[in-house]
């Protein structure tokens, strides 16, 4: 029985090790099971069905998402993935939400200001492939304008097309 328990523990250990080695995709943020550069249009249709909101968006649980697919390896978007692979999910909230409502660990996010619209700032977690676009005006601050689920830093190293 002790030996059986040891085998089970060893299997568990291997599973944990495998998950760690599998690495970036294991910790990538997902939106309703969809992960950029790992999910395909078929996955989206299977999991979410057809778009149910305006402009081919998905409206689920108060979140409205645009899912973008690659047109082929190194096409616009710049990812070396097959046609039909999800490369970006943009999510907006139907009801306004502040960044502080989301209870995220800000230590894991890098803050950058949009160089074009200086009242918009980005909080990026490259490791998890998630970026919050937040309004940062003089009087009003903190409203989340858009959440981007994008390739993780590790996936970007593997699959970003080289500059031509």
């Amino acid at each position: 029985m002790g030996q059986q328990r040891f085998k089970t523990s060893r299997r568990l250990l291997f599973a944990i090790l495998f998950a760690l080695i599998a690495g970036p995709s294991a910790i990538a943020m997902e939106w309703h099971g969809i992960v950029p550069l790992h999910s395909t249009k078929e996955d989206v249709l299977r999991l979410l069905g057809k778009p149910n909101s305006n402009f081919d968006r998905y409206l689920i649980d108060g979140e409205e998402a645009t899912i973008l697919y690659s047109a082929g390896p190194c096409s616009d978007g710049g990812w070396n993935v097959p046609r039909g692979t999800v490369f970006l999910i943009s999510v907006t909230f139907k009801r306004a939400r502040n960044l502080s409502d989301l209870k995220i660990d800000m230590d894991k996010y890098v803050r950058t200001v949009d160089p074009f619209v200086t009242t918009h700032v980005y909080y990026t977690n490259k490791e998890q492939g998630v970026r919050y676009e937040v309004y940062d005006g003089v009087n009003e601050k903190g409203e989340v304008l858009q959440v981007y689920y994008e390739p993780t830093g590790a996936d970007a190293i593997r699959l970003r097309c080289p500059q031509q």
Binding site: T66, D76, G77, P115, Q146, C161
Partner: protein, 163 residues
């Protein structure tokens, strides 16, 4: 620099002075693929043509011309830009921000972002414009881009002169 095709795209966009590069290989039947510029519907096209004619007739008001000159912009370039514009449907088009001619990528702010946070810069430049147009919280993204010191970039000539 990790920017994908950045230099070529910027040169192309700027050389064409704001003309939206159309991609003949893109299929208008794939609205969720990037790089597609969808024209206006007949009603919106008629409205656009009407407003463009008004702008042509009106020219650049003196007050606005003075302001533009003080910022190093030749006022006649504004009218030239209007002539060269190719309107597209914002919510339906997935052309990238860098292709759409709605931003000025020739600023110190942009270069600093690109130098310090190349991944974020790439994400911003290659974001399809439709995402902002569809989003009720960000809405329309456009205007004439002057420089990094001008914070309220898209309303500096309003309401007396609207582009």
């Amino acid at each position: 620099m990790e920017m994908w095709k950045y230099e070529q795209r910027l040169a192309y966009t700027r050389a064409r002075n704001g003309i939206v590069p159309r991609r003949p290989e893109a299929s208008p039947l794939d609205p969720q693929q990037p790089g597609i510029s969808v024209g206006l519907n007949p009603k919106d096209q008629a409205k656009y043509d009407q407003e463009r004619d008004k702008a042509r007739k009106r020219g650049v008001p003196d007050e606005c011309a003075k302001f533009l000159s003080s910022r190093g912009i030749d006022p006649s370039d504004v009218l030239r830009a209007i002539e060269l514009q190719q309107p597209f449907s914002g919510p339906k088009s997935t052309i990238l921000r860098i292709d759409a001619g709605v931003e000025d990528f020739d600023t110190d702010a942009w270069r600093n972002l690109q130098k310090n946070y190349p991944d974020t810069a790439t994400s911003i430049a290659t974001k399809p414009v439709a995402l902002d147009f569809k989003n009720p919280r960000t809405g329309f993204d456009g205007g004439i881009w002057v420089n990094r010191d001008l914070k309220h970039h898209d309303d500096y000539c309003l309401p007396s002169y609207s582009l």
